[in-house]
Each structure stands twice: as C-alpha cells, then as structure tokens.
C-alpha cells in the first residue's frame, strides 16, 4: 500500500520537472506525464486482490503527531472505482493531449504539469481517509481547474470563466471545510471511514451535512451553481474531457457517495440531493438540446448526468448505490470518449458548430463508429455498460411508493432527453445535411482514434462483463440497506425497467425528430436565471467591498490611530470594569535609579507636546524609548533592554531617513489673525480636542492596565517556571530568554520572522515603487498623513 502513497507523491514531483523538460521535448512532455497515472493505475490494480479478498488496504503517514495530523490513504471499493477512472482516463487524455497541442506551443510545459498535478490531487482526493487531506486535495483540483481554464489569461472570456469556476467551487469548498470540521469534532475523529461507520447525530451534524452538500453541489455543477461548467468549456478540449467530464466534477459525486452509507437515511442528506439532482437532470437535458457547439452540448449533458448520479447516491438503497457505482464508471468512459471525439472534430475541421459540419461520418468511419458506441452507452442502448447502469437505476425506483414514483418519473423524463441529445451529438457531428458544404478534413490519426477507442470499447466490453463491475460496485453498495436480490446484468427477463428502457429510447428518438425541445421558447424569468444570479452576486459583492473600503479606509492616519486606541480602551476596558480592578499591591519604587529614569521619560513626554518640528518630536520619542529601556535594565531584564535600545536606535535612524522628504515643521494651517495670538496661549483648536481626548484616554488606560497587570501577578506562572527549569537540561542554555525564543517557542519565532519579512518587503516595495512613478507628488504639509508614519507600523 506504501507504493500507492509514493505514486501520489510522484505525480507532484514529475509535474515539477515537466515545465523544464518542455523546453527540449515540446508537446511530448504530455506523453511523459502520462506515464505517472499509468503507473499509479497499475499499482492500484495490484491491490485489487486484497480488496476483493477482504478488508481494504490502509496506510498512514504521520505528519505532525503533536496535533494529531496524519495522512491516511484507504483503498476501498469506491476509491478503487474512482482510481480506475482518474488514473485510467488521465493516461488516455494525456496521451491524446500530446497530439492535440501544437508542436511548438509555448504553454505545453505548464499545461502538462497542471494536468499531472491534477491527476495526483484527484488520486489523493479519492484515496484520502481523513477529512483534512481530502479538503486539501479538493482545493488543489479547484486551483488546477482555474489555471487550466484561464490558460495564459490572454482572453477576457477565459479569465472570466476561470474566475467563475474558482469563485463558485471555492465558495462550496469553504462551506464544505466548515462542515467537515464540525462533523469531525462531533464524531471525535477525522477519519472518514470511522465517521461513516459510526455517524454522529444532533443539530450541529445536520448543519454540517448541509454545508458539505454545498461543496458537493457546487463542485458537481448542480442547479443553481451549474453555469460555471459550460463557461469552463473555453479550456482546451483534453482539459474539458478530463476535468470537466471525467474527474473533477465527479469529486462532488464522490463525496456524496462517500458519505451516503452513513447519512443517506437523513432527510437533510437525501432531500436536497434528489431534488436538485432531478431538477439538474431535466434542465441539463433541455439546455443540451438547444446547443449548436458540440462541447457545450456535452457540457450540459454532463451537468444532467451528474444530477443523475447524485440522485442515485442520495437515494440510499442498495440497488440505487449499485446503479450509481456502475453509472459513475460508465459516465466517465462514454463522456471522455465523446469529448475527445469533439476535440478531434474541432482539430480536423476547425469548427465544433453542428450547423457547419456535414458529411464527416463518411470521411471518418472508424471514429464515427467509436463515437456512436459511446453515445449509445450514454443513451442507454444495450449491450453497453450505460444500459446496465440505467436498468439498475430504473429498477431501484420501481416501487409503489409516492417518493419513488416521482423520482422514477423524473428519471424517465430526463433519460428521454438524454437519448435525444445523444442523437443530436452523433448526427450533428457525423451526419450529412443539406445546407453546408461537406467538410474535407485529413484523417484523425492513430493517437486520436486510439484515445477515443479505449474508453468507448471499454464501455462495450463492460456491458456483457457487468459481473466485473458488480464485483466492485456491490462491495461499495453493501454498506447500504435494501434487498440484495438485484444483480448488474444485460438481461433480467421481461420487466418494468426493460419496458421503461424501450419507452425512453423510442421517446428520445421522437423528441429528437420532432425538435420540440429545441423549438420551445427558451424564456426564463430574469431573477431565476442562474448566470444572472452569479453576476449579480459578484457585482453586489464588489459594490459592497468598494463602499465599505471607501468608508472604513479613509486614508487618514489620525482617524486610524483614534479607532485603534478607542478599541484598545473599549474591549479590555469593558472586561476590566465588569470583572472589577484587582487590588494592586506593589511598592512605589524598587530602586533609586528608577527615579531619574522616570523623570527623563516624563520630561521627554511633556516636551514632545511642545515640539513644532518633526525631528524634535522624533528625538524626544526616542528619548522616552531609551528611558524605558533603562527602566528594563533596572528591573534586571537585560535582554529586553538590549533589544529596546537597539530597536529604538534603528527606529530613530529610519525616521530621520524619511524625515528628509517631509517639511521640517509640523503641518499647522494658519488660523485667522495669527498675529494677535499671544505667546503661551494654549495651541488647541476645536478640531484638535477630540484627538487630545482620545490620546489622554488611551495613555491613561494603558498605564492603568500595565500597573494592574504587573501588580496582580503573585508568582511566576507555571509555564514560566517550567521554562526556567528546563532551559539548561533541554536547550543547553543558561539564558532562558534565548532558550524560549529559539527552542521552546521556536515555531512562534519562525512565524514572527516570516511576518516581519512580508511586512518589510511590502514596505520596501512601496517605497521603491513610489520612486519609480516620477510624477506622483509627495504629500504636502496640508495633508494629514505624513509618509513618515508608514514606517512606524
């Protein structure tokens, strides 16, 4: 099992090298990348024996044992099914991509690396057994999708589509993370297998399940979040075939399937999945029938099929889960074959519009036949695996219950649409029609044909070989309740599902011939249009952010400082008032040296108020700092005093450096009749009073707080005494301060210096960037925000 872990890591390592390799090998790096998922597939298959023989194999790597983080992989039947899809189709698509990309396309290395990273993340996602690594892999797939859809970011459309895919799926992902954490805390374990085996109950868990479903429906493009998927079709066709048909959008379905054994009996789980799934099925089918672009047709078909899968996994019975697992595999196979066909058509003829294509079937008989097999599987024509899955699905809901009847009616209706759009795709791509000139493309080539043939023929083989599918599917479905009498097979005798299948095929043909759906007026009331909803939300969010920033970030340093000081007073001050001020018992002085130092500090502080020039104020503030450093020294805090002196010096220098750019005196707009003012008259004007009040309030409060805190401490806290005791034996240090900084709390130190680096780099970039824009004028004396304040933060 360890080799599967290594296989996941290998994806990321190889991906890191591909961009470099692309400089010499060009588009061939895709084929190099294909080796990794191929090896992963073989390695996973070696575990098949263990899996079918008994318990699923698990393996875990300790990550940070101190906080209980570990990465666990678990290869059970569902994971194996998904691995076959992810790695198998990944290999096929990457090989196809090696032919699809232009010979000297600059983006080959990037695309290949991202595809391999994606394959690795998807493999990790389906194998991960702890919710946190599951989430991490989930978001890696989102980021890969964003980068692949956006491409180099040249076109506005690509950027917008990529952003929409990212925003929608990340929103769902964050909700899911919250749900997973709540669920993990309620269950007392973060292992998915343990949560599902012994699901916790309660209101919090209900909310958690709803949040997780938000992740499911956004990732799997369900109503009302579906528009991102058709928009993502601006990506290269192999990317669409892999991410947006076979693998990534299945992550949502996978998650639903993963949690179904534990939660499918709860209304909060199955009601949204079944309701949204049915709605999406019908909507996707209708929209697919209106498309002229082959890829968009398939994208809406994918949305519809994903709804179908969610209905099956949400239903929570043995037969439905069996059907779901079979359809999961079948859909991956036929949808990737169809997408790759669309890519080949696009590459060969230069168009994907079915109104411009004609006579392609006679030119490319082999590809047309293979695509026909895949489309037949999608429509549910025997003897293909799609038929087997659809039969099982129809059987699962063939009960005389109102709920099952509604679902069955929805399934039959949506399946009729599926048959119709399968025909539309096939005839649209390969048929001959009167209008346009027959196209004259060159042959698709062995790689394209082979890449379409593999999944298409696998669908043909697995139809009669349904028993192999059942070997895996039944192991997964065993966790769910319901009769075990149904088996996946082509022939069950004359039964209701068979009758319904015949009705669906005939109905689908009729719908396609009559063109009734395509001709229907496509009017949807504005507020109900999903894309408009997304646009409105994003625009509203922008407006909100803009308005809020405009009001909060006024750009006035005195206002910022005032707000900070007031919050400092308000928050701890309220607590101090509520809890009462503890009795302060401390001597007035510990050493006579404190007296002169305190006098220096007080004198400097008083003089700062009188300073009229910036340099004077800075020097006096520095004096206060040195005085306080001296007080530290008197108290015996030598390390602290040393740091205080050094930092004070550096601050002074930085101030002086910046002050060169500022006018020497403070800003003081002339008042009317300045000449009449006598020397010594108080210099506060009306608008300065609030500032003075806030300053006095803040200063008094901090002084009070410092006195209370240092006075109410009775003895060393436990942690401090432990540090003092362990400094010598554990860290080999006689200086406890240093031992704490670089040993006991080294993690904190690293975090702090990282923040320091980020802040300093930002400040330096700002200063240097300001230097580059020549004509930007520097702040004048009239303005309230001198640039020197920037440094203090």
């Amino acid at each position: 099992m360890r080799h599967v872990l290594i296989a996941i890591a290998a994806h990321f390592v190889v991906a890191a090298m591909l961009p470099v390799a692309a400089r010499w090998w060009g588009r061939r790096v895709f084929a190099v990348g294909a080796v990794v998922p191929a090896v992963a597939l073989v390695l996973a298959l070696t575990e098949l024996g263990t899996l079918l023989g008994g318990e699923p194999a698990t393996e875990s790597v300790a990550w940070a044992t101190g906080i209980g983080l570990e990465f666990t992989v678990r290869l059970d039947a569902l994971a194996m099914l998904m691995t076959l899809l992810v790695s198998g189709i990944g290999t096929v698509v990457l090989c196809y991509f090696a032919r699809y990309a232009g010979p000297d396309e600059p983006g080959s290395g990037r695309d290949a690396a991202l595809m391999v990273v994606f394959a690795g993340a998807m493999l990790g996602l389906v194998l991960a057994d702890d919710v946190l690594s599951l989430y991490v892999f989930w978001e890696i797939t989102t980021v890969c999708s964003f980068l692949l859809v956006g491409g180099a970011g040249d076109s506005d459309e690509a950027r917008r589509s990529a952003k929409q895919a990212l925003v929608v799926t990340v929103l769902g992902g964050l909700a899911m993370l919250l749900g997973l954490i709540v669920l993990g805390v309620a269950a007392g374990t973060f292992r998915v297998s343990e949560i599902v085996a012994d699901p916790p109950g309660g209101a919090a868990v209900t909310a958690a399940v709803a949040l997780i479903l938000a992740g499911v429906v956004t990732k799997s493009a369900q109503v009302p979040f579906h528009p991102w998927l058709p928009a993502a079709m601006v990506a290269p066709t192999p990317v669409s075939a892999y991410l947006h048909a076979a693998a990534m959008v299945k992550a949502g379905v996978y998650l639903a399937a993963r949690f179904a054994p534990g939660f499918a009996d709860r209304p909060v789980f199955w009601v949204p999945l079944v309701a949204l799934g049915l709605w999406t099925m019908v909507l996707g089918g209708v929209r697919a029938l209106r498309q002229h672009d082959l890829k968009l047709l398939l994208a809406y078909g994918t949305i519809s099929q994903l709804g179908f899968l969610l209905v099956l996994f949400g239903a929570g019975t043995y037969t439905a889960a069996l059907a779901g697992a079979a359809m999961l595999l079948a859909h991956g196979l036929f949808k990737s074959a169809l997408f790759l066909t669309a890519g080949a058509v696009d590459k060969g003829t230069g168009t994907r519009d079915i109104r411009e294509l004609s006579g392609l079937g006679r030119r490319w008989p082999v590809l047309a036949t293979l695509a026909g097999l895949a489309a037949a599987s999608m429509a549910g024509v025997p003897p293909l695996v799609g038929f087997v899955g659809k039969e099982a699905a129809l059987k699962a809901f063939s009960h005389a219950e109102p709920k099952d009847f509604v679902v069955l009616a929805g399934l039959v209706g949506a399946s009729v649409l599926t048959v119709a759009y399968s025909l539309r795709f096939l005839v649209g791509a390969f048929g001959t029609r009167a209008g346009p000139e027959p196209v004259r493309p060159k042959a698709p080539g062995a790689v394209f044909t082979g890449a379409v043939a593999l999944p298409a023929l696998a669908g043909l083989v697995l139809g009669p070989g349904a028993a192999w599918v059942e070997a895996l599917a039944a192991r997964y479905a065993d966790a769910l309740p319901g009769s075990r009498s149904y088996h996946l097979a082509l022939w069950h005798g004359l039964s209701l599902p068979l009758l319904l299948s015949a009705v669906i095929l005939a109905g689908g043909y009729a719908v396609y011939r009559s063109g009734v759906v395509a001709g229907m007026p496509g009017w949807v009331p504005g507020p109900l249009q999903a894309q408009r909803g997304y646009d409105g939300t994003v625009t509203g969010l922008h407006a909100l952010a803009h308005g809020l920033t405009g009001r909060v970030q006024t750009g006035s340093l005195p206002v910022y400082l005032g707000i900070i000081l007031l919050s400092v007073v308000a928050a701890p001050g309220t607590m101090l008032l509520l809890r009462g001020v503890p009795p302060v018992d401390m001597p007035w002085s510990r050493s006579w040296l404190q007296l002169p130092l305190a006098l220096i500090v007080l004198a400097a502080a008083a003089a700062v108020l009188r300073a009229r020039r910036r340099l004077t104020a800075v020097l006096l503030t520095g004096m206060i700092g040195y005085g306080i450093g001296g007080l530290f020294l008197v108290h015996g805090a030598i390390d602290l005093a040393l740091a205080q002196f050094l930092v004070e010096t550096l601050t002074l220098v930085v101030f002086v450096l910046v002050l060169r750019r500022l006018p020497p005196p403070f800003a003081r707009p002339r008042r009317e009749g300045a000449g009449q003012r006598r020397p010594g008259q108080p210099a506060l004007r009306r608008r300065e009073w609030p500032k003075a009040m806030i300053a006095v309030l803040g200063g008094t409060f901090v002084a009070l707080l410092a006195t209370v805190f240092s006075g109410s401490r009775m003895r060393l806290p436990e942690a401090s005494s432990a540090y003092v005791e362990q400094a010598k034996p554990d860290a080999g240090a006689t200086n406890v301060v240093n031992a704490i900084l670089i040993d006991f709390r080294a993690f904190d130190t690293i975090g702090e210096i990282t923040v320091l680096v980020v802040a300093a780099t930002g400040a330096a970039s700002l200063a240097l960037a300001a230097g580059r824009t020549r004509h930007r004028s520097m702040p004048r004396a009239e303005q309230d925000q001198p640039e020197g304040e920037e440094v203090r933060r």
Partner: protein, 185 residues
Amino acid sequence: MTGSGTGPVDNGSEWESWDVPKQQWLRAEHGPPGWPRSLLLEVAVRVVFPTVLVLSLYLLFVGHYAPGGGFSGGLVAGLAFVLRYVAGGSVELAAAVRIKPPALIGTGLTVTVVTALAPLAFGYPALHSEQWHPHLPVLGELSIVSSLFLDIGIYLLIVGLVLDLLRSLGAGIETRDLEEEEASR
C-alpha cells in the same frame, strides 16, 4: 541631516520656533552629487565598523548563555551598516556590502526553516534541538546547540532587513532627490 530650513520660520514667535536648529550639526563639505560629507565621521566610522561587526557576532554566539542572540546581534550588525550609510551615503554603503538585501533575507528565512525541518530527516519531530559537547585540543570542551542555526538565520534576516530599509528609504529617497534636483536645474 536636518534638512534645509535652518533660518527662522516665517511666523516667528518664540513658541513656534524654539526647536529650530541654530547651527549646523556637522561641518560638512558638499561632495560630488549633493551629499554632505564629513571626513572625520567617515574615517571614524570606517575604523569602528569591523569592531561593531565583531561585537554583533559575539552577541549572536553568546546569546544562548548571556544577553544577546540572533535578533540583537543582527540589529547591531545592521546598525554598523547604518553608520556607514549615515557617514557617506549610498556610495559608502555600497563599499561596505555588495550582497542584495532580498538575497540576505531569503537566506536567513531559508536557514531557519531548514533548521526547523532538518530533524524530520533524522526521525525526530520538527524543531527538535540537539546538543553536542565535542572536546577540542586547544579550546577544551565546546557546547554546540543545533538551535544556534536558527539564531544564525534570524541574524542574517535582520541584517538583510536593515539593509533593505537603507536601500528603500535611504538610497531610494536619495536617488529621487538627486533626480528631482537635476530635473529642476
């Protein structure tokens, strides 16, 4: 360093102008491009400079046993460069150090992170620290702690930060001043 306004400001009451400098702090020659130079200061700083650097190294290594450490040591070293800059401007600073500040900062951060992660390679948890007590012929018993490398990383990082400040706020503004001066000529 006090800028140009050495004369009394226009609304010349005692209250408003008590802290206007009455005389220049340093007798300075205006050297080639505009920077006031003081030969005495420049020479003195050059003499002191190596000593300050050695002091900073002392603080770095003594930190484990007495006041000091990477942070203090780095600041002292940084102040040594500040002295050079104050004495002779960016030309003098460039003579003292050639490494680019971001490279120094990056090295420092890398050293700390690698030190933090290195124990993982030997099967210990991250941030684990180890002590060695080798016996050397002349020096006697030494005490070396692996967390010293963490301190060295912090030292480099802080020195880099101070240099970065001098580069951006010091030399950056200085160049801009000179450019504006040239443009106005």
